[in-house]
Amino acid sequence: MNKKKVISLVVRYSVYGLVALFFFWAIRNHYFDYIFTESSTFWHLIKQHLQLVLVSSVLALLIAIPGGILVTRKSFRRAEWVVSNTVNLGQTIPSLAVLALMISILGIGFKTAVFALFIYSLLPMYRNTVAGIDSIDENLIDAARGMGMKPVQILFRIELPNAAYSILAGVRTAIVLNIGTAALAYVVGGGGLGVWIFTGIQLFDNGYLISGAIPVTLLAIFVDYLLRLLERLIVPEGSKPPQEM
């Protein structure tokens, strides 16, 4: 084995070691105990969290992807500039603020949180849909038109398959981000695992803090991994980027 490989392995296992050490330390200090002593609350919060993410992500998906497709149609090209800049500007507003501002419109509760998360998920999905479609070589579309494909056929056979990688990456980014932002739903009374995190912060109770924070983290990492697998299945073999890191 060469030296470079050894360095890489040392780094990798040191990180694993640190993570293991953290868990060991947390367990020894009983920081995970609430998950078991208040397990019904825990599962309730998880369920709420997943609902927040699922509902808002699906809504965003249904708006952002068709929106991105629509904006890249020839007749709507002019609208793209306006839409894209509006959406980009939206992104500079902090997620916490989006949530907070929704209170004055929708009041406090689950719906407010869902709506804010939905708004916040639009951008990565929309942006990657547009970027994915825009990055397709003009010549491909030209060839497709030249051989007598209709616009709908071009969309479904050429544009979407070749933009799939980018679109799905946007969806993944948005959903993972969403899992994290959903942890802030607590501040608008939307529930979710954020409830324990914020309780922990406010009460200086490390148990609540860790019992909320670690599951959210694992959820985000796990969903990210799952969606990467899904990408590998869905994206057509030939239009995957040359190498993945």
Partner: protein, 217 residues
């Protein structure tokens, strides 16, 4: 609108202070992230195994929800009596900034035209000369793009830091939420957005100013 103007007038010095606090928190975190990330990114180009490992770890790091990472920092840093305040927020921000900086440095240096590298070798440049005269100047725009991404991400995440007592513009928003005061929330948000735009603008200017003319496009 009028009420809002009045509000701004009354609170202007406080808003200014919080903005500075926010900028310092993010600025220091980015500075440290740069000192770690850029050399690391450069080193990774010489070790593919390590590159894979490090980029994987950094990309997992970026998926960790911000409030969760801040949360975890509290008990960890309370071991050294720094559980609340600047330190945990600062460390979390340094971690978040790593991926864009390391990844962009690594890819940029790796993608420097091999012919250019060969030419440099042919001219008898030593590796260190090559790095500073050929590779870094050519990789500069991409590295800067990574830094800009990191800065914009951090300014946004820095808002959440208010919840763990690290101050900054997030304070306006959290107070606005607890008091149900939309002026505070909007002012905080606008200030954050403006800060992000200014920071990005300055970095973009630096990027353009110091990019060799021949490779700017």
């Amino acid at each position: 609108m009028e009420k809002w103007m009045k509000f701004l007038e009354v609170n202007s010095s406080r808003i200014f202070d919080l903005t500075i606090e926010h900028a310092i928190l993010v600025g220091l975190a980015i500075l440290v992230a740069l000192l770690i990330g850029v050399p690391l990114g450069i080193y990774l180009t010489t070790n593919d195994y390590l590159a894979e490992t490090v980029l994987q770890i950094a990309s997992v790091m970026l998926t960790i929800p911000s409030i969760a990472l801040f949360g975890v920092m509290i008990p960890v840093f309370s071991i050294v009596n720094q559980g609340i305040g600047f330190v945990p927020a600062f460390v979390a921000l340094v971690l978040y900034a790593q991926l864009p900086i390391i990844r962009n440095t690594y890819t940029a240096i790796r993608n420097v035209n091999p012919q250019m590298r060969d030419a440099a070798i042919g001219l008898g440049m030593k590796p260190i000369q090559r790095l500073f005269r050929v590779e870094i100047p050519n990789a500069f725009p991409v590295i800067m793009a990574g830094i800009r991404t990191a800065v914009v991400i951090n300014i946004g995440i820095g808002v959440i830091a208010a919840y763990i007592g690290a101050g900054g513009l997030g304070v306006l928003i959290t107070q606005g939420i607890s008091r149900g005061d939309n002026y505070l929330i909007i002012t905080g948000s606008v200030a954050v957005a403006i800060l992000a735009m200014i920071a990005d603008g300055i970095l973009l200017w630096i990027q353009k100013r110091f990019t060799p003319k021949s490779i700017a496009n």
